[in-house]
Amino acid sequence: MEGRIAMEHRPKRWEILRRFPRRRDQLLPVLHALQRANPRNYLSPDDLRAAAEHLRLPLAAVYDAVTFYSMFSLVPRGRHIIRVCRSPTCHLLGATPLIGALERELGIRAGETTPDGLFTLEVVSCLGLCDRAPALMIDEEPFGPLSPGDVGALLARYREVVR
């Protein structure tokens, strides 16, 4: 499976990597670019190997960095990443019921991906949207303040685009 995906993506991956100088300080930019290009929104073993090879780093050094940062994923994720904040301001103003509503509406727990591959739900630290708490981001778009009752309509927008 991984082999087949790798074959399909290999040329594209090299096109991406070509833009980056072969220096270690390019590791985060490279990983961001590879993850963005991966249709499953994660860093596959082949992505990591390609990054290591391009930057002439041991694979372990790449893993070491990837596992440190919450925005990188080693498991496939949904098309849309929902990042919901649970830091103090959002917590104070209702992050817990909001997360509960998201879990119910999506039918998954935080950290999981819906079976249709559309959404991954992540609970994260402060997103810098505290004046709109409780807040979340879907991909790169911020939303807030949200009540549990807003969740259905919010997700519907992303569901419709697919059909």
């Binding site: 220096r23 270690r24 300080d25 390019q26 590791l27 985060l28 930019p29 990983l31 961001h32 930057l55 780093l57 050094a61 070491d64 960095a65 596992t67 440190f68 940062y69 919450s70 925005m71 990188f72 990042r83 649970r86 830091s87 103090p88 301001t89 917590h91 104070l92 103003l93 817990t96 019921p97 997360i99 509960g100 727990r109 935080a110 950290g111 609970v123 994260v124 630290s125 402060c126 997103l127 810098g128 949207l129 505290c130 004046d131 709109r132 708490a133 981001m137 790169e140």
Partner: protein
């Protein structure tokens, strides 16, 4: 008595200009500070910054001019300017508003810094989640290049400087300056042991200025209008204006700018509109999650570095998180502790283990499982963390814990006696 109200200097363009048009910035005097700087010697510019008394807005309040002087006088020829735009302190969104609303102000400040300290390259390390900030900055940088404010021979001088945006990838600790440098070098964001400080051993081991977004955004006006003008704002100890992000139980949340020294009461009741109708203010967490809890009888405190320090608090990021009588302090502290447990980088034992132990101890308080010795244990853990943690993340957890226990002790004791309140019960439903 000085009457305090909003005073917009850093925010003077935000919301009024199109941040994607450099001409809007230029029409309002933009890049005038850079022009003025280039007519003076670098040492002169550093001197102006020192005289202005500008102190770092990233939390620690270190004098900016002195930091620049270290780098200017350093022996290495290759030097860097790094802007810390990793903004992750809970309750804080000031740098985002600046970058989204007036990106050229930051770019101009960085170019002046580069000239003053003899750097040719600058980096803005923006947290990865700030996608709009990243786009706006990249656009602004390319416009500045086209107009000759960045690149080779800036404005006909022999000063060359360019800026690159680097995206973080989700780690609060990378806001700590040495962790940030590690991250920029392509490693996990583990704080370095200091000294050496970035001013002599920074990015790739070279002398590096690391400054916060808001700090650098102050620079153009200081150079354009002079240190004496700047010192007419704020207090002797903390000159200038400050961005205060207001959040929590307030009628009007959002970012306000006012002179340093504005009383907390004015921020909360005049600018923030006070708590929602029918509620009463119960307390404030000032300075972010790593800040101090203040009680309602402390609201007259002037919001500057020195005044807060004197009462055992900190200005930190300037964040003001207000909570009212519907909140539970035990529950709120629980959220603060979960944050630290999640964001501890795990490099040193006191913080890695300490934050986890604190979460467990707090869970015992929440559920009423234990007596006052649980609270003493929390104190002992933070005392160890304060002296033995490697970086300020672990060292600072004692501040919210100590101030919450001191000022809201009754609430902790009543949980221990009577078990969880409804807020605590609701908050433990999520497992994530």
């Amino acid at each position: 008595m000085k009457a305090f109200a909003e005073r917009k200097i850093l925010l003077s363009n935000v919301g009024l200009i199109d941040p994607e048009r450099i001409d809007d910035y230029l029409e309002r005097g933009g890049y005038g500070g850079l022009r003025a700087a280039l007519e003076r010697t670098p040492a002169d510019v550093v001197e102006e910054l020192k005289e202005s008394g500008l102190r770092g807005r990233g939390g620690a309040g270190f004098p900016t001019g002195i930091k620049w002087e270290f780098v200017l006088k350093s022996r290495g020829k290759t030097r860097y300017v790094v802007c810390n735009a990793d903004e992750g302190e809970p309750g804080t969104f000031k740098d985002r508003v600046l970058m989204e609303g007036d990106p050229h102000r930051l770019i101009e400040g960085m170019a002046i810094c580069g000239y003053a300290v003899g750097a040719r390259r600058g980096f803005i390390y923006v947290r990865g989640e700030y996608a709009l900030s990243i786009r706006r900055l990249e656009r602004a940088i390319s416009q500045a290049r086209e107009r000759g404010f960045l690149g080779r021979g800036i404005l006909g001088s022999d000063f060359s400087f360019d800026i690159e945006v680097r995206a973080g990838a989700g780690a609060y600790v990378c806001g700590e300056e040495t962790a940030l440098l590690e991250s920029m070098e392509g490693k996990r964001g583990w704080p370095r042991i200091r000294p050496p400080f970035p001013a002599d051993h920074g990015f790739r081991g070279r002398p590096t200025v690391v400054n916060n977004v808001e700090t650098l955004a102050n620079v153009p006006e200081i150079v354009r209008r002079g240190a004496a003008w700047y010192r007419t704002l704020g207090t002797a100890d903390s000159p200038g204006t400050k961005l205060y992000p207001l959040s929590g139980a307030l009628t009007r949340t959002g970012l306000v700018e006012a002179e340093m020294g504005i009383p907390l009461r004015t921020l909360i009741f005049d600018l923030g509109g006070g708590p929602p109708e029918g509620r009463e203010l119960k307390g404030v967490l000032v300075g972010g999650a790593a800040g101090a809890f203040l009680a309602p009888d402390e609201l007259d405190i002037p919001m500057d570095f020195g005044s807060l320090r004197r009462i055992g608090a900190i200005l930190g990021s300037g964040a003001v998180l207000a909570f009212d009588d519907t909140a539970c302090v035990v529950d709120l502290l629980g959220s603060v502790l979960s944050f630290f447990a999640h964001e501890s980088c795990g490099q040193c034992t006191p913080c890695r283990v300490g934050t986890a132990v604190l979460v467990d101890l707090l869970a015992r308080v929440r559920s009423g499982n234990g007596d006052a010795s649980v609270l003493d244990a929390m104190r002992r853990v933070t005392e160890v963390m304060e002296v033995a943690s490697l970086c300020p993340l672990g060292q600072s957890v004692g501040l919210p814990v100590g101030t919450a226990l001191e000022k809201f002790r009754g609430e902790f004791e009543s949980h221990l006696k009577r078990g969880p309140c409804p807020r605590c019960e609701a908050a433990t439903e999520v497992h994530a």
